[in-house]
């Protein structure tokens, strides 16, 4: 149990600092095209054990988001999106439940459930995260078009980052 907790803690620390120290500095914009934010750290919420209590997902998402906000100088924006992601996770997991259930699956990762399953799962979660995050950042429904375009482009880059991470740290 302890070593599992240690692994998840280590993953959180790595993803957190990679997000705020590296990905925050990457600006993918050309001229007027300024639609991409690369978001990787919610992967931590995605990879928590299947049996994690729901309130831990919600509270953990909130705290991780708040920490990222501290570096992004955007109080509440990441926190609300990460809280939502934590809240969303159990519903998506039960929706995507494989035939045999999650009985022998410790964490919902590519290695345990296959690439197809993981891409579906990660895509839904990431789009959920990015949509809330960008909506909260823009904070006006009048710019729904902008929100959707930003969500789409950020999603394309972010899901590639997620898959890259999975292929490096979770091979097989």
């Amino acid at each position: 149990m302890n070593s599992i907790g240690f692994r998840h803690g280590l993953r959180l620390v790595f993803l957190f600092f990679f997000q705020v120290l590296v990905l925050k500095q990457v600006h993918l914009n050309w001229g007027d095209f300024n639609y991409i934010s690369i978001i990787l750290y919610p992967l931590w919420i995605l990879l928590l054990p299947v049996q994690t209590a729901r309130w831990i997902l919600v509270a953990g998402g909130f705290l991780a988001g708040l920490g990222v906000d501290w570096f992004y100088d955007s109080p509440g924006v990441h926190a609300s999106a990460a809280t939502f992601t934590g809240f969303l996770r159990p519903f998506i997991l039960s929706y995507l439940e494989p035939r045999g259930g999650y009985n022998r699956v410790p964490i919902p990762s590519k290695a345990h459930l296959g690439l197809n399953w993981f891409v579906t799962y990660a895509s839904i979660m990431l789009i959920g995260y990015l949509f809330i995050y960008i909506s909260m950042e823009v904070f006006t429904p009048a710019l729904l078009g902008t929100i959707l375009v930003k969500t789409l482009f950020s999603f394309i880059i972010s899901i590639l980052m997620v898959l890259l991470y999975m292929f490096i740290f979770d091979p097989k």
Partner: protein, 275 residues
């Protein structure tokens, strides 16, 4: 009763979710109003204090000129005050407009950080929100105009100098009231250009340029003197060079001018541009 507890236990995560989302949105909203300026202020406070310490040393060398300039201004203001006392018993530190309603409120401030060598020059003054400075207040000195307040700290404010590519001031030829835009071409800190004065206007070398009533500066505040006024062949507008009355490299004591009519004027202008 047991069912009730079971219910709360089962759905505790939903309540937790709602509470945390509420907290997040409260944070976002308060950020939109003032969170950003709070962050900005705290850093400004450190930076501003540092600049002020360093500037105190430099100021010693300019004390003689400063004293002379301030004494001169004092005498001029006292003359005005004497005139005012005859006209009305009301003594104010403000410029009154033609219907004698107060429009501008001035706060004395000192420049603690300044630059003139960049294309976009910015200065810091030692008055901020705590001292009643408005955002986008204008900054003048007795001999000329200085800039606009752009960021407001608690004790300090950042001023966009008129020596900045983003600065445009509506100015006019004092003699004929022809309006144009005062911009900085970016070379000498003493020379600015006035654009958009049509060629049929009567402009002569030696005319005085003052701020116009279109600007948020007090109308009629001195700016400079025309040193060159030419019309290039085929152009419809004058090419006018203005030598500023004030040397922004030496600017030290300034007045921050709050425009009490600004919000009303802005909302009207906004209404105009929204077709």
């Amino acid at each position: 009763m047991q069912n009730l507890f079971a219910f709360f236990y089962r759905y505790a995560f939903v309540f937790l979710f709602l509470i945390l989302e509420f907290v997040s949105i409260r944070l976002i909203v308060s950020r939109n109003e003032n969170q950003r300026t709070i962050f900005l202020n705290s850093s400004n406070l450190i930076v501003g204090t540092l600049y002020e310490r360093m500037d105190a040393v430099r100021k010693y060398f300019g004390l003689r000129q400063d004293n002379a300039a301030l004494a001169e201004e004092n005498s001029r203001l006292k003359n005005q005050l004497a005139n005012l006392m005859n006209a009305s018993p009301l003594i104010t530190d403000s410029i009154t407009d033609t219907v004698y309603r107060q429009r501008f409120v001035m706060h004395a401030a000192q420049v603690v950080n300044n630059s003139i060598e960049r294309r976009n020059n910015v200065m810091t003054i030692n008055k901020g929100a705590r001292d009643g400075i408005d955002k986008y207040a204008t900054v003048v000195e007795p001999t000329g105009i200085v800039g606009f307040v752009t960021h407001l700290g608690i004790r300090y404010a950042t001023v966009m100098s008129i020596l900045n590519s983003n600065s445009r001031v509506s100015a006019m030829v004092k003699r004929t009231s022809t309006r144009g835009n005062l911009v900085w071409p970016g070379n000498s800190p003493l020379i600015m250009n006035v654009e958009a004065i049509p060629k049929h206007a009567d402009v002569r070398v030696g005319d005085t340029i003052v701020t116009s009533s279109f600007s948020h500066f007090p109308a009629g505040h001195p700016v400079g003197e025309i040193t060159k006024a030419t019309i290039e062949p085929g152009e419809n507008f004058y090419l006018i060079e203005v030598r500023l009355f004030n040397d922004l490299a030496r600017t030290n004591h300034v007045y921050v001018v709050n425009d009490l009519h600004k919000s009303e004027l802005d909302s009207l202008n906004q209404f105009n541009t929204q077709k």
